[in-house]
């Protein structure tokens, strides 16, 4: 077929579809912006229901199980908060980076590194009490995560290496390091004291004085990490909106050329954002150790895929740090249902399916904020 024969055929095809996308010239209003994620979520839930129906399960039974496991059941809200805590950190990590168009997919590995650093420091200083151990654990985790994230950041900034692939490869490396420390070596992190220590490898526990205290009241347990996470969300929001640094970042993200003309140091900002993102994810790892497991637990850290879920959290929040708090709670509920139900209707693998569908719908919904549908031919 030669090119000269094609135009008439194509014109007929264009007439068959009288709808096209046209770029919006105005900014969508606040209500529009807030309703989009809600609409996307509703569509996602319908699609998940259809999928469950295809798999031969009653979607409404599954829904009521999730609601019971996440909201209405005994102790379920506390369980949801537990799952939401790491997602708040990894969600913030992804939101900061993705908002700046820096693709840090390494939240998963940065969380592991944070857990390793926090557990190491926690084991070493736990006996001295919380006032010493808590700040040291936070500092160690943040530093470790920032340095781990600095590897892909520096490679990107100075050697132009694709940060998506390098940050992702480091997730596998960090996961293997976790396994090595507990399962395949007699490292400082591993408990070698008991008679079964060789058969059932396990992490060494922190002194109980260094356990992070939760806030209890009204039947609820609010982990300290969650409180830190909310505070960080506010800090990050203020940093992006109201500081010179944040302004530079937004300019560079939206128009790199304009940023360069204004003399903004794009390389330095790139490295700074990536390291901040890594530190945030790593604090999630510290919270896993300090709030919940009190030791380095490779499978407990790896199985829920908090780092990857953080990307979904951030996208659902449209990369707004304050909205991350809400979307972390929502995805925390789903993660919690997956971890605790483990039923035929709701196996853990369904969480990934639901997260993927939510992400598809959010992405599709984004189109409505940038384009409008125009009926009729041009």
């Amino acid at each position: 077929m030669t090119a000269t024969l094609q135009p008439p055929v194509r014109r007929r095809a264009a007439q068959a579809v009288p709808v096209r996308l046209e770029r919006r010239l105005d900014q969508p209003g606040r209500i529009h912006s807030a309703l989009l994620p809600v609409g996307s979520l509703l569509l996602a839930m319908v699609l998940v229901g259809v999928l469950l129906g295809i798999a031969g399960h009653d979607p409404f039974a599954a829904l009521s199980q999730v609601v019971s496991a996440a909201v209405t059941g005994q102790g379920s809200i506390s369980a949801t908060l537990t799952s939401a805590t790491p997602l708040l950190f990894t969600g913030l990590a992804a939101a900061v980076a993705f908002r700046m168009r820096i693709w840090n997919i390494g939240g998963e590995g940065q969380l592991y590194i944070g857990a390793i650093c926090a557990a190491g420091v926690g084991i070493a200083t736990g006996a001295s009490g919380l006032a010493v151990a808590l700040p040291l654990m936070l500092i160690a985790a943040a530093l470790g995560g920032a340095l781990w994230a600095a590897i892909p950041a520096l490679l990107r900034a100075f050697l132009n290496t694709n940060e998506i692939l390098t940050s992702l490869m480091l997730n596998y490396v960090a996961g293997l390091l976790l396994g090595y420390l507990i399962l395949d070596s007699t490292s400082y992190w591993r408990d070698m004291s008991g008679p079964t220590a060789l058969v059932y490898p396990q992490g060494k526990s922190l002194a109980s004085a260094a356990f992070w205290p939760g806030f209890t009241g009204g039947g609820l347990i609010i982990p300290l990490g969650l409180v830190f996470g909310v505070a960080l969300a506010v800090l990050v929001f203020v940093m992006i909106r109201h500081t010179w640094f944040g302004y530079q970042l937004r300019v560079t993200a939206d128009n790199a050329q304009a940023g360069r003309y204004a003399g903004m140091a794009s390389r330095r900002n790139l490295v700074a954002v990536m390291m901040l993102s890594g530190a945030l994810a790593a604090l999630g790892g510290a919270s896993q150790v300090g709030d919940f497991s009190h030791l380095l637990d490779p499978s407990g850290l790896q199985q829920p895929q908090y780092g990857y879920t953080g990307i979904v959290v951030a996208a659902l929040a449209r990369y707004n740090p304050l909205a991350v708090v809400l979307s972390a709670l929502f995805l925390g509920a789903i993660t919690n249902a997956g971890l605790n139900l483990q039923s035929a209707t709701f196996p853990q693998s369904l969480t990934g399916v639901i997260e993927g569908i939510i992400l598809f719908c959010v992405l599709g919904g984004e189109v409505l904020s940038r384009y409008r549908f125009v009926w009729g031919r041009r």
């Binding site: 290496t161 196996p347 993927g356």
Partner: protein, 319 residues
């Protein structure tokens, strides 16, 4: 150098490299049309679970069941790729986030593992597996015999795919259209080539390739199902395309290099070398990083071979 180790390394390198060859070619097709698809890992796992489901559940002679398993793996993964195509080509969403979404949706703790759970695939081996074919009875020729004449059918097919894709891109009219769309979609559009159609076709074909690559894991490498069986191979396949400067023959060479490195640990351990197994398992990931750094820092400054339109949604009015 130890002759036996050398041949063993190359032989296992081909085994572990083959899924990377096939999936890498698929990603190459999509990227040459301008669509970056980070969902390779998810699509490979969809292919892997589909192939395993067929190979375990369908009765009949292997000669019929195995091709069916491979074809269905390709079809299912192509359907998965269609989601990415719709989101990025029709709705013009961000290709990076959409591809990530695809891997989260279909990946190690997503649909592929959900299907395995629902269909009860865990714990029992497949009844049909790909076996090596002793071509022309030349298997026992020293060195070349075990490498070239003692492979399973899909390995031979992968070699044909490299040749086929290379000829397709460089020597055919649709291949010319593909390159035009990837390099300059506006110019291609003004020449009467449908950018949308070319991008859809190659993204979906890329998905089929990834699915067949994934099928290799469950039909030839591992006889049992485990969630996330590809273990990041999809990501390495994406890196391979960059490493290969978007050329099919480069994908073949790179994939075998990664195959050799992947199997280095088991080969050395079998010869009594004592080192932490995690170190060997981490080698392909570390090698990927090193290779990307070398390619991007030195030669990549000229962006050798990267399609100019890669990653950019196309709209006729520039929107």
């Amino acid at each position: 150098m130890n002759h036996g180790l050398f041949v063993a390394l190359l032989a296992t390198g081909i085994l572990y490299g083959t899924p990377l060859v096939i999936a890498g070619l698929g990603e190459l097709l999509a990227e040459r049309s301008g669509v970056l698809n980070l969902g390779v890992e998810g699509m490979m796992l969809m292919g892997a679970v589909t192939a395993f489901w067929v190979a375990r559940g369908v009765a009949g002679p292997s000669i019929l069941v195995l091709p069916l398993a491979i074809v269905l793996a390709g079809v299912v993964a192509a359907a998965t790729a269609t989601i990415h195509a719709f989101l990025t080509i029709t709705l013009r969403t961000n290709q990076i986030v959409s591809g990530l979404a695809l891997t989260i949706f279909a990946g190690a703790s997503g649909l592929s593992s959900y299907i395995a759970t629902v269909a009860g695939l865990g714990g029992s081996p497949a009844t049909h597996t790909l076996r090596a074919i002793n071509v022309f009875g030349l298997k026992n020729v020293p060195v070349l015999g075990p490498l070239l004449f003692d492979e399973n059918a899909l390995v031979y097919v992968s070699w044909l795919m490299v040749v086929g894709v290379s000829l397709y891109i460089n020597r055919t009219r649709p291949g010319l259209h593909l390159r035009a769309v990837g390099e300059d979609p506006h110019a291609a559009d003004s020449m009467g080539i449908s950018v949308t159609r070319v991008r859809y076709a190659h993204t979906i074909a890329g998905g089929a390739f990834a699915g067949i690559g994934g099928a290799f894991y469950t039909l030839a490498i591992s006889p049992e199902w485990s969630d996330g069986i590809t273990n990041g191979a999809g990501w390495i396949a994406i890196a391979l395309v960059i490493f290969a400067f978007w050329r099919p023959t480069g994908v073949l060479a790179g994939a075998y290099l990664f195959g050799v490195v992947t199997s280095l640990g088991s080969n050395l351990e079998a010869r009594g070398v004592q080192l932490p197994s995690e170190l060997f398992t981490a080698l392909p990931y570390l090698l990927t990083m090193i290779v990307l750094v070398v390619v991007s820092s030195g030669l990549g400054k000229r962006r050798l071979g990267a399609p100019a339109g890669l990653g950019i949604p196309y709209a006729r009015d520039g929107g």
